[in-house]
Symmetry: C2
Subunit: 209 residues, 2 copies
């Protein structure tokens, strides 16, 4: 959690009143984080309509805890969304350090990104009402993630692994489009196609060039 954003009274972009509890008890804060992670995992496998019970079980908490932190399903989905955006954004630089190469980092990052898209697409359905808030979240998504993706692309290009020229927005949108459709048709695995897309970025290996 690199950005705990402690007690500052600054005009916080958001969460000033609702976000990760500022004055909450330690266990409550822990549970909130646990819930966000667990919900994200469940969303990936069962969609954003997964039973509350299942999410509670995954997190190892009672249902009451979920309802206390996130009174409505939309609240939970939105919170997971933001959490995932943040996690994805923070993962970029970290992967760049830990992975074998910038391109490897990009592939790992894309994997996280695909997980996140499940939540993102589910969000649209879960928020048919207040579409205004949805657009704000989309803007947040772009602000945070495009630069990270850009950074990964640049690093890979600088390392000579891929040709420069492909832009982050375009790539992210392409990945996003590959992931539309909530069916679990075994004949269509978005992840496989995303990997293909990424491999397409690669320059021919020097051995063959």
């Amino acid at each position: 959690m690199p950005d705990p954003n402690p007690s500052a009274a600054a005009p916080d972009t958001n969460r000033s009143a609702k976000g990760p509890g500022r004055n909450k008890r330690a266990d409550a804060q822990r549970n909130e984080q646990t819930l966000l992670t667990a919900a994200a995992a469940v969303f990936v496998t069962s969609g954003v309509d997964a039973p509350i019970r299942r999410i509670a079980a995954e997190a190892g908490v009672g249902m009451g805890t979920i309802y206390r932190h996130f009174p409505t399903r939309a609240d939970l989905v939105v919170a997971v969304y933001r959490h995932q955006v943040d996690a994805c954004a923070e993962a970029g630089p970290r992967l760049l350090d830990s992975a074998d190469s910038p391109f490897a980092a990009l592939r790992e990052w894309a994997d996280l990104f695909v997980d996140f898209l499940v939540t993102k697409h589910g969000l649209a359905n879960a928020m048919q009402s207040n579409s205004g808030g949805f657009e704000a979240l989309h803007a947040y998504f772009l602000d945070r993630l495009v630069p990270v993706c850009e950074q990964l692309l640049d690093a890979a290009a600088e390392a000579g692994e891929i040709d420069p020229g492909t832009r982050a927005y375009e790539l992210m949108r392409g990945i996003g489009n590959l992931c539309v459709g909530r069916d679990s048709d075994p004949r269509y695995d978005p992840r496989r196609l995303v990997d293909l897309l990424l491999k397409g970025l690669l320059r021919p290996r020097s051995t063959s060039a």
Copy 2:
């Protein structure tokens, strides 16, 4: 789930093969009609997601009867849709005979049409999957209803109640658009606006001209 659903496959001009059961027992045929009428009424007040129990109660039948006739909710919604289209189409000429004037007939017809739109809009949500079948149903809707509306408009124009020129498709689409949104906000009553729209067609009464 590529379900081999025969009802959505062929947009049969009408009931030649699937409609009100040809070889069914008399009581079964009666029940099917009763159900279609009852479901339509419930849809208007509670939307297409109304509990099956409520529809069964409205029709005065058991739940088993609904499931026997319409295995899935989509089946029921589609059947109601067709039924409503037919009813609306047949009501046009009848109202022209029975109402005080062609314009009065048009207003009454519009009232039926607004009821029907609830089902129509619900249909889009209920058929997110096989959108192909949906387009076929929409075509059926246009084929059957536009001519009827045209007839009503022409009759009113011929009687000198309204100015000629307004086309049926445009009017129907206008009414349809006034009815979007499923909220039961008391501040927005589509029916009131539709009535306004229709009054707008009227020529000034001869007394003032």
